[in-house]
Symmetry: C2
Subunit: 276 residues, 2 copies
């Protein structure tokens, strides 16, 4: 379909679908790429998942997700690092060069943000060369500051770049996710600075009111307050030519039949994102 | 009481109390200052409110709040400016030099953050000299980025300072509110930069999960994830010697008898903030 050449479905958007269902849904909707989740891949099996997407002719725009690297406890830390090494290998086997990294929040009972951030940096130093060996780039995703305590102590694109720039660009990049960064007064300059580091561009809209579970408040592109034309232009001006991955956490969207969700995803992409 | 010399009760914390009740509560709890809200002042009457706090020997650490300056519509804009001029005069009559400013979110249907921010700047240019004439400082409060769409397009301390520094320090300052800024990776450097501009230091804790109304998720100091020792030290190192105002939006706190809330406020202040 004209205009959908760079569209990707992040499969969390059709959470009710298994991986085979999501693959079929993308093919039928004319969506050429998919962002996979590790739990869905595990459910179907790694080798079978890789074959399914390959046989369907879909590109894998990213694997979600590695990270959760803030534990201070040595045993927990070793477990997390080992899990991330596996995630890197899974990404390679699935045929994607992008592993999305959500770095983790404060450990239970800790108020020490600086130390948590420093442990994230140390973990990247261990993981980045390994990722490079597998042709996979660790894509640091700054999460909205409302997730700082429980999910990601990396909260802004500038902070993600400060971390990424300590490593070769082919090993560590950043995610620009509209929902997490749209409010940032430094956004324009940080996207420009991110040239060569943008590993993934994810989109969904900021809608209000926030639901009881703040994680699930994301809307379809066009339903909320984000100016996608300007944002997409900035990401393009920074040299990004990859897929635009639609990633929506929202109970209502999840309760909608997948085919209908994909029709909306395609229509909103054409209306708000495509052609920039 | 030793250790409470710099404690102030922001009266939203005891929302069920009228202004006279809050004044009496502070006196009985040994809290030497109060932050007032305009709706509560209006309920009691401006002159009577001013007399009540003065006769009780309480300092007024701030008046909440002016702002909401993002309207594009000329009539709405004039109304907002006029209301802020009144707020400045009210602050002066109440005996405080600090008017807290929550700048406002995106106008209905707008996705143009840059223009909204620019209108805020223009409004400050109109209001700041007037504030100076009355001996009142406009204290720009950056709100947590989760309020960017609906409440405040100023989201970080750095951004607030970029705005404040366009005006004389005696006319425009900033608020450091723990809840809104604790997550900021640039916090240490921005607080240091804020020397001479910190007009108010407000505290409450970041607790999880966020409630259905995200506005009401704030906890007593010590109940959440914020490191108040480090934060308070930084604010002190930037030269701030004013009151530490406890401002809690939380249904559960609001449903607690005021006397009990004040006992908690005092105890937490002594445990986490005092002496720094």
């Amino acid at each position: 379909m004209t205009g959908t050449e760079r569209l990707s479905l992040n499969q969390i958007t059709t959470r009710g679908w298994s991986l085979p269902e999501a693959v079929r849904g993308c093919v039928e909707a004319g969506i050429p790429a998919i962002g996979l989740w590790r739990d869905k891949v595990a459910e179907t099996g790694l080798a079978r998942s890789a074959k399914l997407v390959r046989d369907a002719g879909l590109a894998v725009s990213s694997l979600c997700r590695g990270g959760f690297l803030t534990a201070a406890d040595p045993a927990l830390r070793r477990t997390a690092l080992a899990d991330n090494l596996r995630a890197i290998e899974e990404a390679a086997e699935l045929g994607t060069d992008t592993l999305v990294m959500v770095v983790g929040g404060l450990p239970d009972g800790s108020r020490d943000l600086a130390s948590a951030r420093s442990r994230v940096r140390d973990a990247f130093a261990e993981l980045a060369p390994h990722a490079g060996d597998f042709g996979v780039r660790l894509a640091i995703e700054p999460l909205h500051p409302m997730f700082c305590a429980d999910r990601a102590v990396v909260s802004t694109l500038g902070q993600a770049l400060d971390l990424a720039e300590q490593f070769p660009a082919r090993q560590v990049g950043v995610v620009v996710d509209s929902y997490h960064v749209w409010w940032d007064p430094q956004l324009a300059e940080q996207i420009a600075r991110a040239e060569g580091r943008i590993a993934s561009y994810q989109v969904c809209d900021w809608t209000l009111p926030l639901p009881a579970d703040a994680l699930l408040g994301r809307g379809h592109v066009g339903d909320g307050h984000i100016d996608f034309r300007t944002l997409t232009d900035r990401v393009a001006a920074a040299g990004y030519r990859g897929y635009v991955e639609v990633e929506i956490f929202n109970e209502e969207v999840w309760n909608t039949p997948g085919e209908e969700t994909l029709r909306t995803v395609v229509a909103r992409h054409l209306a708000h994102v495509a052609g920039r």
